[in-house]
C-alpha cells in the first residue's frame, strides 16, 4: 500500500466522521437513560388493538406526573417514559390507561435519582479505569521497542506509538457516541449502562487492530536493521498494513457478522448495544488502517522536517 502519495486522503474519512461526531455531541448531547439519572418506563400492551397515540397522550396529561413521553412499540404496545414513579403513582397511571380498553403491563422499570447518580458515577470511574489500563497495556506492549528503533534514522520513538494508539481509540468511541447523540436528536435514543459497556468493550477490542499493525511495523523495522537494509519509514508502514490487512478485516468481520445477527433478530433489550458495538468495530478497523498508521507517518515527516 502506497502511503506516501495518498497520505492526506487517508485522513479524510476519520476527520469528517470525528468532526460530525463532535458536532452532534456538542449540539445535541447524549440523552442519559433512566438507569443513569433516574426515571421510569412503563410498557403496556392492548391485546385488542391499541388506541390512537393522541388519545393516550391527552389522557396521561391529566395525571400531572410531569412530562410523559408516549411512544408506540411493537404491534399493539406503548412505551411511556416519565420521572420515577412510586407504586401508587404507577397504579394510577395503569388505571388511566385501562380506561381505553383492556390493558396488560409488559414491563415496568423505575429508578430513583440517587441510584441513577451512583451508577453514573461508577460508569465514569470504570471509563477512567479502562482508559488508564489500556494506556498501561500499550506501554507494556511497546516496552521492547524503545532504544531499538531509535538507532534507525527517522523512525518514531515508542511513546509516539502510544499517543497515536490513544488518539485512535478516542476516534473509535467518538464515532458511536456521536451517532447516539444524533439518534437521540432524531428519535430520542437514550444511552444507558449497556451503552457505556459497549464503549468500554470497543476500547478493549479495537486497541488490538492498532497494536497488531504497530507490532508488524516494529518487526519489519527490526528485520530491516538486522539486514542493514534501508527503507523509508512510510514504505515500511505501507508494507506492514498490507501484511496485516486480511487479518484485521477478517477478525472484525467475524465479530460484525454475529453482531448483525444480534442487532437484526436479537432481543430488543440489546439492539442499541449491538448497534453501538457494530459502529465501534467498523470505526476501530478502518481507523487502525486509515488513521493510526498514517498518523505515525505524518508525525515522522513533521519531526524529520524540523531536524
Amino acid at each position: 500500500m502506497d502511503i506516501s502519495k495518498n497520505l492526506k486522503y487517508f485522513f479524510i474519512l476519520p476527520a469528517i466522521l470525528s468532526v460530525l461526531s463532535i458536532f452532534a455531541l456538542v449540539s445535541f448531547g447524549l440523552k442519559p437513560g433512566i438507569d443513569l439519572v433516574g426515571g421510569s418506563m412503563l410498557q403496556v400492551s392492548y391485546p385488542e388493538g391499541r388506541p390512537p397515540v393522541e388519545q393516550v397522550r391527552a389522557l396521561v396529561e391529566t395525571l400531572q406526573f410531569g412530562e410523559i413521553r408516549v411512544q408506540p412499540t411493537g404491534d399493539n404496545a406503548y412505551l411511556l417514559r416519565q420521572r420515577d414513579l412510586s407504586n401508587e403513582e404507577k397504579n394510577q397511571l395503569e388505571a388511566v390507561l385501562g380506561g381505553l380498553g383492556p390493558v396488560h403491563e409488559d414491563q415496568f422499570t423505575s429508578v430513583g435519582p440517587t441510584l441513577g447518580a451512583e451508577l453514573m458515577r461508577k460508569a465514569w470511574i470504570a471509563i477512567v479505569l479502562v482508559v488508564l489500563s489500556i494506556i498501561f497495556f500499550i506501554a507494556f506492549a511497546f516496552r521492547r521497542v524503545s532504544g531499538e528503533s531509535e538507532k534507525e534514522k527517522g523512525t518514531v520513538s515508542s511513546w509516539k506509538y502510544g499517543v497515536v494508539a490513544v488518539i485512535t481509540l478516542l476516534h473509535d468511541i467518538l464515532v458511536p457516541a456521536g451517532l447516539f447523540a444524533f439518534l437521540g436528536f432524531v428519535n430520542g435514543a437514550e444511552v444507558d449502562a449497556l451503552f457505556i459497556v459497549a464503549l468500554l468493550t470497543i476500547l478493549g477490542i479495537s486497541i488490538n487492530d492498532t497494536i497488531v499493525i504497530f507490532d508488524r511495523i516494529r518487526e519489519n523495522l527490526r528485520l530491516n536493521s538486522e539486514r542493514h537494509k534501508h527503507e523509508e519509514f512510510e514504505s515500511v508502514v505501507g508494507r506492514s498494513i498490507t501484511q496485516t490487512l486480511a487479518r484485521s478485516i477478517s477478525t472484525s468481520l467475524t465479530v460484525v457478522i454475529v453482531l448483525l445477527a444480534l442487532y437484526f433478530v436479537g432481543p430488543i433489550a440489546t439492539k442499541d448495544f449491538a448497534l453501538t458495538l457494530i459502529v465501534g468495530m467498523v470505526a476501530g478497523t478502518y481507523s487502525s488502517i486509515f488513521l493510526a498508521s498514517p498518523m505515525l507517518v505524518a508525525w515522522q515527516r513533521l519531526s524529520s522536517k524540523k531536524n
Partner: protein, 438 residues
C-alpha cells in the same frame, strides 16, 4: 501422527459427551437447567434504600443481616419459587449507602409483593367488652366485641422468650414484652382502670390470648401466652423485636418484566446466536477453507463448553449475558483467523505443511495472548463496575475469552495436524490456503 489422531478422536468424544450433558439437562426441573435472569424469565426486581443513619456504626452490619432475615421470611411466605434477598453496600466508590435487593421470579404483579415486604407485624391490645365471650373460634372477626386501647407494638422496647409465668402451665413458652416509657404509662393506665376485665392480645388481626387483668401493672412488662410452641414463640419474639424493621427501608427502584416479554427475549437471543453462528461458519469455510472448517468445529466445541459452564457454575443468563456470549463467539474465531493467516504465510515461505501449522500456531500465540489480555482487562473492570446487568455481561464475556483462547490453541491445532492434509499441491494446497488464492 497416530498419537495426534487419537487425541483428536478423544477431543471429539469428550465434546460429544459435553453436548449430551448440555442437551439432556434442559428440562426446567433439572438441577443443571439454565438459570435465567429476571429479564428472560419474567419477574420483579426491587431495590430498597436502607436508612442506616440512626443505627450506631458498629451495629450496621448486624442490623442489615437482621433486615435480610426478616425480609427473607416475608418473601418466603409469599410462596415464590427461588426468591433472592440480598443486602449490599454501594461500596467505597458509591456513597456507602446500604441497600436491600429482592428478586421475585415469576411475580409480575408487584403491588402485592411490595405490600408484603413493607408489612410489619402488628401487635394490638384490646379490651373485651362486657358480656362478650372470647372463647368462640371466630372471636377475632367479631370486631364489635373489642374496644381499642391505643396500645400497640409500636410502644414496645423489647420482647423476650420465656417459659412459664403466664396463665397456663409453668413450662409453656410465653413471650415477655417490655414497653417503652410511653407504653409503660399507657399500660399502667389501662390495667389500673380495668381490673377484672379481659385484655385481648392480637397479632396481625388474630387473637392470641385474652388474660384477665388481675392488678394494675406499672413496671411496663406484660406476658403474652397463647398456644405457642417453643418455635412459634421464638419467631414471634424475633418478629416483635424487629417489628418496626431494624432499619427503615424505602423503595428506590422497581423493575417488572412480564413472562411473555421474557420468553420473547429468550427466543430472540437464541435465534440471534444460532443465526450468527451459521453466518460466521459460512464465512469461515468459504474464506479459510480447511482451517476455516476446523475453526468452525472448534468453535462449536467452544460453544458446548461455554453452555456446560453456564450450567455448572451456574451463570445467571440475562439478555446482556447472551449478547456477551454472542460477541465472544465472534471474537473466539479471532484466534483461528490469526492462525490461518500465519499458516498461509509460513506456507508461502516454503515450509512443509506440518511444520507450517506448528510454526503458525507458535507465532500466532503471542498476538492471541496480547489481544486477549486487553479483553480480559475490560471484562474484569466491567465485572467490578457492577450492577447485576453488567456483571452478567462481563462474566460471560470474560469466561468466553479464556475458554476460546484455550479451545482455539489446543483444539484447532490438534484437528489440523490430525487431518494431515498436505498443502504441497493440488486439492490440499487449495484447502489450506485462503481468500482468493487458487
Amino acid at each position: 501422527m497416530f498419537a495426534i489422531r487419537y487425541t483428536a478422536v478423544l477431543v471429539l468424544v469428550v465434546a460429544a459427551l459435553v453436548g449430551v450433558f448440555v442437551w439432556k439437562t434442559n428440562a426446567p426441573d433439572s438441577y443443571f437447567a439454565f438459570k435465567l435472569g429476571l429479564d428472560l424469565s419474567g419477574g420483579t426486581h426491587l431495590v430498597y434504600n436502607a436508612d442506616t443513619t440512626k443505627v450506631p456504626a458498629a451495629q450496621v452490619a448486624e442490623s442489615m443481616a437482621a433486615l435480610q432475615t426478616v425480609i427473607e421470611r416475608r418473601v418466603n411466605a409469599f410462596g415464590v419459587g427461588e426468591p433472592v434477598v440480598q443486602t449490599e453496600q454501594s461500596g467505597a466508590l458509591g456513597n456507602g449507602a446500604y441497600r436491600l435487593i429482592v428478586e421475585l421470579p415469576g411475580v409480575s404483579d408487584v403491588n402485592e409483593a411490595i405490600a408484603m415486604i413493607g408489612q410489619t407485624p402488628l401487635l394490638e391490645f384490646k379490651l373485651v367488652k362486657q358480656g362478650e365471650l372470647t372463647t368462640l373460634p371466630d372471636v377475632s372477626i367479631n370486631k364489635a366485641a373489642f374496644e381499642d386501647t391505643g396500645l400497640t407494638g409500636a410502644y414496645l422496647s423489647s420482647a423476650a422468650l420465656q417459659f412459664g409465668n403466664g396463665t397456663g402451665v409453668a413450662t409453656m413458652p410465653t413471650v415477655l414484652i417490655n414497653f417503652n416509657a410511653e407504653g409503660t404509662r399507657l399500660f399502667a393506665d389501662i390495667t389500673s382502670k380495668n381490673i377484672g376485665r379481659e385484655l385481648a392480645i392480637f397479632l396481625d388481626g388474630t387473637m392470641l390470648s385474652a388474660p384477665v387483668i388481675q392488678d394494675s401493672i406499672t413496671n411496663g412488662s406484660a406476658v403474652v401466652s397463647g398456644n405457642f410452641t417453643a418455635q412459634s414463640a421464638k419467631e414471634l419474639v424475633t418478629n416483635l423485636n424487629l417489628g418496626a424493621l431494624p432499619v427503615p427501608i424505602a423503595l428506590a427502584s422497581t423493575q417488572t418484566i412480564g413472562a411473555t416479554l421474557g420468553e420473547e427475549a429468550t427466543r430472540a437471543g437464541v435465534f440471534a446466536g444460532v443465526l450468527g453462528f451459521l453466518a460466521l461458519s459460512l464465512f469461515m469455510i468459504l474464506w479459510y477453507r480447511l482451517p476455516g472448517l476446523v475453526a468452525v468445529v472448534s468453535l462449536f466445541i467452544y460453544c458446548l463448553l461455554m453452555l456446560a459452564l453456564f450450567k455448572l457454575i451456574p451463570v445467571v443468563l440475562t439478555a446482556a449475558g447472551i449478547a456477551g456470549f454472542i460477541l465472544s463467539v465472534g471474537l473466539a474465531v479471532d484466534a483461528n483467523v490469526l492462525i490461518a493467516e500465519r499458516i498461509k504465510e509460513e506456507l508461502a515461505d516454503g515450509k512443509k505443511t506440518n511444520e507450517a501449522i506448528r510454526e503458525g500456531f507458535a507465532r500466532a500465540w503471542l498476538a492471541i495472548r496480547d489481544s486477549n489480555i486487553a479483553h480480559i482487562i475490560a471484562a474484569v473492570i466491567l465485572f467490578w463496575f457492577g450492577t447485576a446487568l453488567i456483571k452478567g455481561f462481563a462474566l460471560v464475556f470474560g469466561l468466553g475469552v479464556i475458554i476460546s483462547m484455550l479451545s482455539a490453541i489446543s483444539i484447532s491445532r490438534t484437528f489440523l495436524l490430525a487431518l494431515g492434509v498436505s498443502a504441497e499441491k493440488g486439492v490440499g494446497r487449495f484447502l489450506m490456503l485462503s481468500g482468493l488464492y487458487k
